[in-house]
Amino acid sequence: MSDRSRTSVCAIGAVLLMGWLPVSPAGAARQVPRTAADDAPVVADFLTRVNAYVVIHLQAERAAPKLPQEATPKQIDQTQRAMADRIQAARAGAKRGDIFTPEMTAVIKRILIEVLAGPAGARRRSSIMDDNVKFVPLTANQRYPDDVALTTMPPGLLKALPELPEEMEYRFIGPHLILFDQHAHIIPDFVPNALAGK
């Protein structure tokens, strides 16, 4: 298990623990704004789902031809596609929402609204839209489109989103926030129209 994966597992433990902390019924009745602690169980569940995907990823990686440290572009491409084929086969029934559950989708959208608000937020949004495409229809478990550039992910946004294992990244394709398996070039799941707000 990589350091990053270990960190994620520890993070899951921590947020699960936070999730068990008692919540004030009075606070809930007054409809106070949700806090990170409120979202902790949802985030923990999300990271569990991400890690379940990473297990499939690692199995595919072990089965794929080993990439030398000094590879040619053709070798990189072949390894990537071999991994993608195995992952897509292992997740043949995957659908949108398997990883970004409706609850996690709501958390993500809340984070985005917060991080993209105000002048700093406007700058981040502009940064995301730099080189972003307008709209591309997506399905879960598809290959990342070859002709779409990887978008900018502002550090302020990445800091606000749950940290992912080393194998995974967040990116945008048009208004959709995607999970990106950067070794296999697979989109395991995505939040549709995440940039559109609520």
Partner: protein, 310 residues
Amino acid sequence: MSIHRVLAASSLVLLLAACTPAIVPQSGPAAVVSPRTRAEPPMPLPNREGSLKFAAMGDSGNASQGQYQLATQMAKTHQAFPFELVLMSGDNLIGSERPQDYAEKFERPYQLLLDAKVLFFAALGNHDDRNQRYYKQFNMEGQRYYSFKAPRQNVRFFALESTYPEPTQIEWLERQLKESTDDWKVVFVHHPLYSSGGRHGSDIMLRKTLEPLFIRYNVSVVFAGHDHFYERIKPQMGIAHFVLGSGGRLSAGDIDARSPLTARGFDADQTFLVAEVFDDQMHFNAISRTGQIVDSGLIVRRQPPAAPAP
């Protein structure tokens, strides 16, 4: 006559000029960038035997005419000033990254330099696929961040992946910087800690993370990209910072003219930088697609703090 014409007319001669140090090396805790104004003539690169000669650029891989023409200019410069390595500060392949893209966005434009056995060392930018770290010609040996010792002079380069400055990477960097006994510690990274770009600008969060380490462990120079122009920043905390994001892309007019950070900015054309390290000095020239020297100067390396008297 415009400054650009003056610079263009003198650039070739000056590149080949014999060494005439313009500034006496200085000692002290801070790197010093020679005070230059736009009206001064370019400073020649000494081009002396035994020095470390290298080039640096960023945001190159878009297969544009600008990238190809700048690459041609790099090859021309290499004939007069034989740099042996090129630092790439990220966005090495922009857009699709199929095998044919590696050819179109890297191998073909830099073919002459690759044929001349010039080594390229890449850092990953926000548009780069992490699989690039396995690509032989980027010399990353499968690592997202790495360091290497220069073949000449006492110089160590550190390549960072600034899109994800996670704790593991920062701990690695601190260990590497601490253990390095090299005179020159030079960092290349995609996101600029300081930039006057209207489009992106300074990455404050990254600065808060990295700058304390750079100061503590005596980094002298930082090369970045991301903003698509050339900018030399006024020394910050004794460290020289460059934005070199116009290796292929160009955001014409993007430098904020009111920025207090700029020592010299050039956003009218694609640009790369050549530099030469000998002992405690680094001479540099920033050269445009058309061969103009748009900036030049001398950096004196930072010195480690003196040991306390017994």
